[in-house]
């Protein structure tokens, strides 16, 4: 078994160049797939017999909510790798992920509350999904707050990595406790994207749009990763050559 790929991924100049090469592919395919998914979802898919056209917000809400969790997982894994093997690039990945994940969490919260107005008659309900999404946003904010409170980038990387790993353990417990809490107090009957069944003509654009958003996330993180790598290596000679 050879570990060269692993070592190469730990090399900042290699990752910088790789990210630069991959980024356009992700960006263009993301644009294409998102347009396709949204057109299908917003124009072609039939209106919901119960919720009318309002349900169409799920084509933004669900991908954003799914990414908010996926990015947090990514961040935690990258941070853990950086912590254990002391790999700078892994910390750069975690640092690049955080604001993107927080933004998607905010989008999921905003679209969720917009959906709530026509459905529940109020902008905010303590629905378990929305509540755990809100707590996830706080986790992201804590992570970014900790990261920004150190002057030394290396310490910021390592301390926030510990928090990210702790958060990964915590997220399922928070999720479970919120569901448990909600079941005690009789949650809302109409949950956002919480129905067990969804008709195929509505499902396909949803999946397409989730893929598109994921590609978009990859493109954004690659750009941010380049920046984070440069920040960590600003005194290295390869940076001067790369930017010359």
């Amino acid at each position: 078994m050879t570990w060269t790929w692993f070592h190469r991924l730990g090399s900042p100049p290699y990752v910088y160049r790789l990210a630069g090469r991959l980024m356009p592919w992700f960006a263009w395919s993301a644009a294409l797939v998102i347009l396709l998914g949204l057109f299908d979802g917003l124009v072609i898919a039939p209106a919901d017999y119960q919720q009318g056209d309002g349900f169409r917000i799920i084509y933004v809400h669900v991908p954003a909510a799914w990414l908010s969790l996926m990015i947090y997982t990514w961040m935690g894994v990258a941070a853990g790798v950086g912590l254990i093997w002391r790999i700078k690039v892994a910390h750069a990945v975690a640092a690049a992920c955080a604001p993107v994940g927080a933004s998607f969490t905010a989008v999921a919260l905003a679209t969720g509350s917009l959906f709530g107005k026509p459905m529940w008659g109020t902008y905010w309900v303590w629905d378990p999904r929305l509540t755990s999404e809100l707590l996830l946003l706080f986790l992201y904010l804590g992570y970014m707050g900790l990261r920004s409170s150190f002057d030394d980038l290396q310490r910021a990387d390592r301390a926030s990595a510990v928090l990210a790993v702790v958060g990964i353990v915590n997220v399922p417990i928070v999720k479970y406790s919120v569901v448990w809490w909600n079941s005690l107090h009789q949650g809302s009957s109409l949950s956002l994207a919480g129905k067990d069944t969804i008709a195929t003509p509505m499902l396909i654009p949803l999946l397409v749009s989730m893929l598109g958003f994921t590609l978009f996330f990859a493109a954004v993180v690659l750009v941010r990763l380049q920046g984070e790598v440069l920040r960590r290596e600003r005194s290295a000679t390869w940076v001067r050559e790369a930017l010359a």
């Binding site: 002391r86 002057d151 030394d152 980038l153 290396q154 600003r234 005194s235």
Partner: protein
Amino acid sequence: MSRYNLRAENLHLWRGDRHVLKGVSLSANPGEVLQLTGVNGAGKTTLLRALCGLAHPEQGRVLWAGRDVRADLAGFHAVTIYLGHEAPLKPDLTARENLRFWIGLRRPLTATELDSALAETTATTFADRPVRTLSAGQKRRVALAGLLLCRAPLWLLDEPTTNLDTAGQALVSRLVSAHAAAGNLVIAAVHQGLQVEAHRLNRFELAA
């Protein structure tokens, strides 16, 4: 009595953009006192912290008895004591209580051992006063008593003579010499006032 030596190989350490340790290699053998010198900011403290395993060099390694100390850090710490600028003492405890808790973590202490160590560093008279009421030099003497009590073969000392009067500096020199003479190792960052027999003393100059 230690049969082991400490070696550092090509240590590189960055603090942010600052390249603090630029490929430091050194070695210290039993019976030897290694004096670290260098201008302020040359990285003496960082080097000591890298040697004891607190700071993590990006490159290079520290070897104790030929083995990387990272392989068994707890085992290495059991034979090492690091004394920083400040004596690790609680202001609200007496000197004696401080030593009991601090050195007691490493090995069981008896009251007689404590008394004789305090006597050796002439700290007996203030041993039962809260450390908050002691002068900086008196705290130093309490810390030196801790050094004697811990029975670690390897001493890593950061400015052990600061805040001490002439008699105190002589005391440090005497303790360090005796420790080395017993076949142990001392690595100390000291500017002045360390009087050790010439055949025991090695100097290591850190370039800024």
